[in-house]
């Protein structure tokens, strides 16, 4: 535990009477990065639960063959909304939330570089999300009876053209995402500028915490990869409303061009998403191993390498589209190549733990599960990168299993590690450890039970995005097992939600630094005051609090 003595006569805030309008104003008009970060995260959690419920209906329909829990159109809307929500309204805002809350604290700044841009980014994300969900009520079917988009989260052309997507469902998809995307870009620019221009004295780029490095590279990717999606969506809007011919195959347009543009965005996007988990692990694993991250320079190098290479692998989503053998081979090569820096990161985390003194707290448990699950995911990714193998696996349940292992088994577990780790800092209270462990174990069991069998369904020829399946194809057992995992996950999330809400009021006070950690956010109160730090710190190494607590053996002695 920390050995610093705190002055006992700290000034206390005067308790004011609760005023609804003041509280509302405080939150709606805020430009404080911590409040905005919190709003991003709460919104993400809510959308996560909604998308999870959509998935619950999906898995209920698929538990047995030939079920008709929902009709085909509804099912198709559900899987479209589930995917779209999870990527754009859960993954992206979690990134913005974590980055906006933590980056200024970790670099010893008082706020982000552009606080008003920060607020703009949040509200436009929320508006986009609400616009997308308004489609359930407002999107017009032929009778105007309300219809959410049903074109899949990557909305291939020409299914999305006016001729095949009548009514406004697809327009809600386009506009909701377009608008949210602007918020993501704004947030990313803010993070980059903050990181470059607002570090406290002594914090050279090499001494920046790994979390901040990860968010910096992540923001670079966002700034470069999100515009292709915006461009493609503008083109689709022009097609649908002004009769343009970008993807109108009747007039010479190319359906494959949409796929190229979408995946030039889409593949970097999944790296953008997973980087948040990487960022959380980069902080949580060292602290609970009681060792610094193994190979900091290599880790940063691996991040940059992943960022670069990920811009060149997109057509591995298109191996079955009929590209030339040269193209297929090139993209297969770049895809397996990106596995190298990713693998390096897994090795380095393991090496961080090796020789350490592992504290199996709830955040650490999530990290351990991440390592094994993400390893699986990466290896199935290699399988998918082998183009001939991919000709069988693509568009089957094997791919569904793979991306859920990366995104749910990887990203969501990493996010939970981060949420539990920084919960005491944000709320000032400790969560309930026992309930946290219930959450973890139920989620591990449920997640693996749902997604491991789906690999088998893919090997047996089950395509994805089908609202039902016939008996006798050998898919029944795997679908049944897969659906059985759902109640475990629902229970797990219930434990999580109750824990977080209850502990915010009734948890044990956490103090500044409950985990005995080493980065600057633990050098201020929990929760931090609005101005973050009384005096802006000056640092000499990447672990300023380690230096403080171990004056005889500081990091800067070893040039770290």
């Amino acid at each position: 535990m920390a050995t610093i003595d705190y002055p006992l006569d700290r000034p206390r805030a005067v308790e004011k009477e609760f005023s609804f309008s003041e509280t509302l104003y405080k939150w709606v008009a805020t430009v404080d990065h911590k409040r905005l970060g919190l709003m991003y995260i709460v919104s993400s959690i809510i959308f996560f639960v909604i998308a999870g419920l959509e998935a619950t209906v999906i898995r209920t329909q698929l538990i047995f063959p030939n079920l008709h829990v929902v009709d085909p159109d509804t099912y198709n809307r559900l899987f479209t909304m589930h995917g779209t929500t999870m990527v754009f309204l859960v993954g992206m805002p979690f990134i913005a939330g974590f980055a906006n809350y933590l980056v200024p604290l970790m670099i010893g700044a008082r706020d982000m570089a552009f606080p008003r841009l920060n607020a703009f980014g949040f509200w436009i994300f929320l508006f986009g999300g609400l616009l997308l969900y308004f489609s359930y009520i407002g999107g017009g079917g032929l009778g105007g009876s309300g219809s959410a988009p049903d074109v899949g989260w990557f909305a291939y052309a020409p299914l999305t053209e006016r001729a095949f997507s009548r009514g406004h469902a697809t327009d809600y998809w386009i506009l909701g995402i377009l608008v949210s995307g602007i918020g993501s870009i704004a947030s990313a620019i803010n993070v980059i500028v903050t990181t470059i221009s607002m570090r406290c004295p002594g914090m050279t780029l090499t001494k920046m915490p790994m979390f901040v490095w990860t968010m910096l590279v992540d923001s670079w990717l966002i700034v470069i990869a999100l515009p292709p999606l915006t461009a493609a969506q503008i083109m689709l809007l022009l097609d649908r409303y002004l009769g343009a011919n970008f993807f109108n195959t009747q007039k010479g347009g190319s359906a494959v061009l949409w796929q190229h543009f979408f995946w030039i965005f889409g593949h970097p996007e999944v790296y953008i998403l997973i980087f948040l988990a990487f960022a959380c692990l980069n902080e949580v694993v060292p602290v609970f191993s009681r060792k610094p991250i193994f190979g900091r320079q290599a880790m940063v190098g691996a991040l940059v390498a992943i960022g670069f290479i990920s811009l060149g692998v997109w057509a591995h989503h298109m191996f079955s589209v009929g590209m030339t053998s040269w193209s297929n081979t090139f993209f297969a090569a770049s895809t397996v190549l990106v596995g190298v820096p990713t693998g390096i990161k897994i090795f380095n985390w393991t090496a961080t733990m090796y020789g350490g003194k592992l504290r199996m707290t709830v955040p650490m448990l999530f990290c351990c599960a991440f390592l094994l699950q993400f390893l699986c995911a990466g290896l199935t990714g290699i399988m998918l990168g082998m183009a001939p193998f991919d000709w069988q696996l693509t568009d089957s349940y094997f791919v569904v299993a793979h991306f859920h292992y990366t995104l749910a088994g990887g990203l969501v577990f990493g996010i939970f590690a981060g949420l539990y780790y920084w919960y005491p800092k944000v709320t000032g209270r400790m969560f309930n450890e026992k309930w946290g462990k219930w959450h973890f174990w139920l989620f591990v069991i449920g997640f693996n039970l749902t997604f491991l069998p789906q690999h088998m369904a893919g090997f047996l020829g089950m395509p994805r995005r089908i609202y039902t399946y016939p008996a006798g194809r050998g898919w029944e057992l795997w679908n049944f097992l897969s659906s059985c995992g759902v109640p475990f996950q629902l229970a797990a999330i219930l434990f999580f939600a109750v824990n977080f809400v209850y502990s915010a009021r009734k948890g044990e006070p956490a103090g500044d630094d409950p985990w005995d950690a080493w980065t600057l956010e633990w050098a201020t109160t929990s929760p931090p005051p609005e101005y973050n730090f009384e005096k802006l710190p000056v640092v000499r190494s990447s672990r300023p609090l380690w230096d403080l607590k171990h004056p005889q053996d500081p990091d800067w002695k070893y040039n770290q």
């Binding site: 570089a113 500028v193 470069i224 403080l548």
Partner: protein, 201 residues
Amino acid sequence: MAHTSVLAQDALGLEKGWTLPDRGKVGITFLIITETALFTIFVVAYLVYMGKSPNGPQPKDVLEIPIFSTICLFSSSATIVMAERALARHNLSGFKLWWLLTILLGVEFITGTGIEWYHLIYKENLTISTNLFGTTYYSLVGLHASHVIVGLFFLILVMLVTLFGFPIQTQERRVMFLSWYWHFVDAIWVVVFSVVYLIGR
């Protein structure tokens, strides 16, 4: 808080020489990077579909090189530099003059585009839905024109507040960022012009 007061001890005097890049410069730079990515996709679409229109008007039949508008736009980059220099020398009337000239040149460019489009739509029957050429032409040139219009909006805003007595001298930095944006719009025109009017014809 004991932590921060101890942490704030600057034993090595690091704070003194600690300069980081200017926020605004980095911000505008990345705005330009992200917009470049956006334009790249529209340029790629133009190149991919070049020569692929099965019917309808073709570029070499209907496109005329907009020499005058292009010269105006490029000149406006020079005039905005002159305006900035005038502001740096505290020459307010010089600044107003050059700034106004920049705006007029920008307006001429947009007008020229508008005239060209009128001709293409009503005389040559080329609309965005006619064929692939129409689609990619109007979207690419239109995307650029929309960025010029946004730039003009801010240029005019600066003009108006200056004319109404706002001390523009205090905002030299922000004027510089706006000029960077304006140069970016110009640079994009170099690419669009080359692709559409030189290569594409």
